[in-house]
Structures are given as C-alpha cells and as structure tokens.
C-alpha cells in the first residue's frame, strides 16, 4: 500500500526523467544539431550560463502575471457572483462574455499597445483577459446549482436572497472557485508571455523572441522550461490551498 502510494507520488518526476533521458539519447544518437532541437544537457548549460538574464526576465513575467491574475480573480468573482445569482444577468451577459472569450487574445495585444504603450500594461491586461473567464464561469456554476428543495426550506424561514447566497451559495461555489484558479493561473502565464512577445522589452516572452531570432535554441528552450516550472508551481500551490480549504468536497479520498 505505502509502496504504491510513494510510487504514485514520485511517478510524475520519474516520467519527466524518463522523457529527458529519451530526449537526450535521441539527440545524441542521431547527432541532432542544437539549432534544430537542443538536448536537455545543452538547455541546462544555457540555464546556468544565462541564469542572470533569465532570472531577471522570469521575475518580470512572474509579477506581471500575478497582477493580471489578481485582477482576474476580483473581476471573475464579481461577474460570476452577478451572473450566478440572477437569471436575467445570466441570460443577458453570458453570450456576450462567451463571444469575448473566444477572441484570440494575441489579436488584442496590438490594440492594448496603442492604449497603454509598450511595457507591463499590455502584459498585465492580456493575462487578465485570458484568465478571468474560467473563474467567472465556475463561480456562476457553483452559485446556480443550489437544490430547489433547500432553497424552499430557507425561503419558508424568511431567508432573503443574500442570506441564501452567503450561507449556501458561496460555500458551495468555493470548490468550483479553487478548481478554476488552477486553470486560470496557467492561462494567465500564457497571456503574459504572448503579450511580451510583441509588446515588451522585458519578460520571458521577449527572451524567447530574441533567442529565437538569433537561433539560440538552447536559451529559447531554457525560457520555455522556466515558464513551465513557474506555471506548474503556482498550479500546485492552488491545488494545495484547494485541498486544505474545501476538504468536504474531496471526501472520496479520505473516506476510503
């Protein structure tokens, strides 16, 4: 039991090592040039060699993403609350928001540049625009899935709409909320990076672009790896918060 548990725990790490090993072997076996596909060892070398600049750009990407994500939580929760608690607001706003969400965010960046200039502004806003939708949609779902019987029980007692929302709706939507944060944070990193590629002089996106244009493939891959690690770390953070705040929604794991 414990052996299989610990295997399960380290399985992702093992898989990663396996993939890296296969990758390395393929690159060496077929003598693939670093300009086409750098081997993991070459990427690691680039990571160490350019640690300073990479860290600088990564920090920039990190804080712009977090600001955009923060706005996204505030706006997403607010809109989700409005949409989830009012049928009229739902039918009025949801189609429009869906249409908006399906616009490629990369296409919005040039407009943002006109409005806010080159720099952190477009990156923050792109991160926000790309990531608020899942938060909003999940909040709304959590609030809207109230059992009609329970609502009757409370309404008979003289509960106001707000009572029902606070006592039942909000706690019920918390698991949905945390689940959406995990999705949204990874999207926010995508948004920032995309925006940095055209509208910034700093950030991992810009690093990727310049490394690519100079055919410094190991450095480009190092940038990708850094983005991946940051997004995964934040994902795990929110997954951890989710497990520790809404344990009642994950009872399957504890009961058995």
């Amino acid at each position: 039991m414990t052996a299989s548990r610990s295997l399960e725990r380290f399985a992702p790490l093992l898989l990663l090592l396996l993939i890296l090993l296969a990758w390395e072997l393929v690159c060496r076996g077929f003598s693939i040039s670093d300009f086409i596909l750098p081997a993991p060892s070459a990427i690691l070398v680039a990571l160490v060699e350019y640690a300073g600049p990479i860290l600088f750009h990564a920090w920039r990407t990190f804080w712009t993403t977090m600001i955009g994500f923060g706005i996204s939580i505030v706006v997403g929760v607010f809109l989700g609350f409005v949409i989830g608690s009012s049928r009229l607001a739902y039918s009025a706003m949801y189609p429009l928001l869906t249409a908006f969400n399906s616009v490629p965010k990369a296409a919005v960046v040039p407009i943002l540049v006109v409005w806010f200039g080159i720099g952190a502004g477009p990156a923050i806003l792109t991160a926000f625009l790309i990531s608020f939708f899942p938060i909003m949609a999940n909040m709304a779902t959590g609030l809207a899935t109230l059992e009609p019987e329970l609502e009757d029980v409370l309404r008979v007692l003289g509960a106001r709409r707000l009572d029902v929302l606070i006592k039942v709706g909000l706690p019920r939507s918390l698991p949905y909320f945390f689940a959406s944060l995990k999705i949204a944070i990874t999207l926010a990193f995508v948004g920032t990076t995309v925006s940095e590629m055209t509208a910034s002089n700093e950030g991992i996106g810009q690093l990727l672009l310049s490394a690519g244009s100079q055919s410094r493939m190991p450095l480009a891959f190092a940038g990708l790896a850094v983005i991946g690690v940051m997004a995964m770390a934040m994902y795990e953070l929110f997954a951890w918060i989710e497990r520790h705040t809404t344990a009642w929604a994950h009872r399957g794991q504890q009961a058995t």
Binding site: E147, E149, V153, V156, L157, G158, P171, A255
Partner: protein, 267 residues
C-alpha cells in the same frame, strides 16, 4: 368543529403556475377544500405527478393560490410561513457543516432566533443536541453529513425542520429513498416526536402503509390536475406500534386506499 380549532384550512383552492396556464384552464391543483384540527397528522397520497408538491408550496405560502383561500392558524396566508418546518426525500444537508451546525442553520435565519444567535449560541447548540439525541443521533453531532448513513442524514434533516419549534411540519416523501427497515424505524422516530410535541403534520407520500400507520386522516389525490378524491379517517387506536401493520383492520384500510388509487390510474 368551530373555526378556532382549525389549523390548516384550504377553501376551494385552485393553482395555475402562470397566468397563461390559468387562461387555458391548466391547473396544477383544482378545487381543494380541506381542513385539519389543531395538532392533526394528515397524509396525502396519490399517483406520482398529482400535484402533491404543489399542495406543499401552497401550505407553506411559497405559492399563492390562483383562486380560493389558504388559511393557516386562523390567518390568510400571504407569504412564506415561518411557523413551518420542511423536510424532503433528499436530506439536503450542507456538506461543509457538521450535523450540529446543519441543524442550527434555521436559527441563523429565522427571527427571533437570528438576532440572538451570537449571544445564545451555546444554549441553541444544547437544544440541537437534545433534539438530535431524541432521534438517536447522540454522538454524531460533530460528524459531517457524508459520514452518516442515509437514514441518519434523514433524521438530521427532520431535526433541522424542527429546531425552531414550528407549529407545522411538512414532509415531502421523506422516507422514499430509504430501505424498508430504516423506513419503519424512522416512522417510529416521527411518531414519537409528534406524540411528544403535537405539531401539525402534512405528510406527502406514495407509501399507503406509511400514511395509514402515521396519520389521523388520509387524503387521496387524483392525477393532474390534482383534486382531493377521498378523505379517510384512520380509526386505529394510538399509540400505534409496528405490530398494528399486520392486523386485519390496518390491511383492510390499506387495501381500500390502494383500490381507490388503482381506479385513478386506470382511467
């Protein structure tokens, strides 16, 4: 019977769910006239989809009649009635609250308890514990609903319906999802609570044995649009015990009601 002893009093009540439905004469319930004495236990039986749940909404004031009048405790019903407690087939307990906190929920909402909830929480919790003990849930107060069996959840749900000491308890097929043994156990739990507190009960059910065992009076409703087809007083002596369900008069009464409902279904 004088007016002052009536508790539930439906006078020629019709309900359509919308104005258009009313114009097309599509009613969910039609011409319901029914009255109960103070403290009476009535059961409403009928085929599924007969408007039993609509009847519940009328009795609680969640729906206003299209025609006719509903009076509860001598007053015309104009909005949700706080003197009512409700329980349903699904226990609808909140999974993030312990059993005790679930039972306390109504006190956080209904006045006058709501205003005093913070100050008197300890006292209220004590009251909830006592209530839970009377239905055999002592020791489970701090467990979460998902740690309880279906029957235990339903006991807790009934406690939640009773914590604010309502004068009327409305039960909509409360034991429908339970196995036969648990169901009979809970019949007795309900019987004992009612015997001790003598609140008014409206039990909506499709289980005829349940209706005859628990109620003073059984009403048979027709298929949609729901009408009251028959009123049967259950003459069986109280206190009743499960043994009574195997006696001839009990079986006879159940048989008669079954035939009555069978004849509705054929038409």
């Amino acid at each position: 019977m004088t007016d002052s002893t009536l508790f539930v009093d439906f006078r020629e009540v019709w309900l359509a769910y919308s104005d258009e439905a009313a114009q097309r004469s599509e009613f969910a319930v039609e011409d319901i006239t029914l009255s109960t004495r103070q403290g009476e236990f009535i059961a409403i039986v009928g085929p599924s989809g007969c408007g039993k749940s609509t009847f519940m909404k009328l009795a609680t004031g969640l729906k206003r009649p299209t025609r006719g009048e509903v009076r509860i405790a001598g007053e015309a019903v104009t909005g949700p009635l706080k003197i009512v407690g409700m329980a349903f087939q699904a226990p609808t307990l909140l999974p993030w609250r312990t059993t005790l906190d679930n039972v306390l929920l109504p006190l956080e909402i209904v006045q006058p308890y709501r205003a005093q909830f913070r100050d008197r929480r300890r006292e209220y919790a004590e009251r909830a514990r006592r209530l839970l003990a009377t239905v055999g849930l002592d020791g489970y107060e701090d467990k979460f609903p998902w740690e309880l069996s279906g029957g235990m959840q339903q006991r807790a749900s009934i406690c939640r319906a009773l914590i604010h000491e309502p004068r009327m308890l409305l039960l909509d097929e409360p034991f429908g999802a339970l196995d036969a043994f648990t169901r009979e156990e809970l019949w007795n739990v309900l019987r004992d609570l009612w015997t001790a507190q003598r609140f008014n009960v409206i039990l909506v059910t499709h289980d005829l044995r349940e209706a005859v065992y628990l109620a003073d009076t059984v009403y048979v409703m027709s298929r949609r649009p729901g009408r009251i087809l028959e009123r049967r007083e259950v003459g069986l002596p109280r206190p009743r015990d499960l043994d009574i369900t195997y006696t001839e008069p009990f079986a006879h009464l159940v048989q008669e009601l079954r035939e009555r409902i069978g004849s509705i279904r054929k038409r």
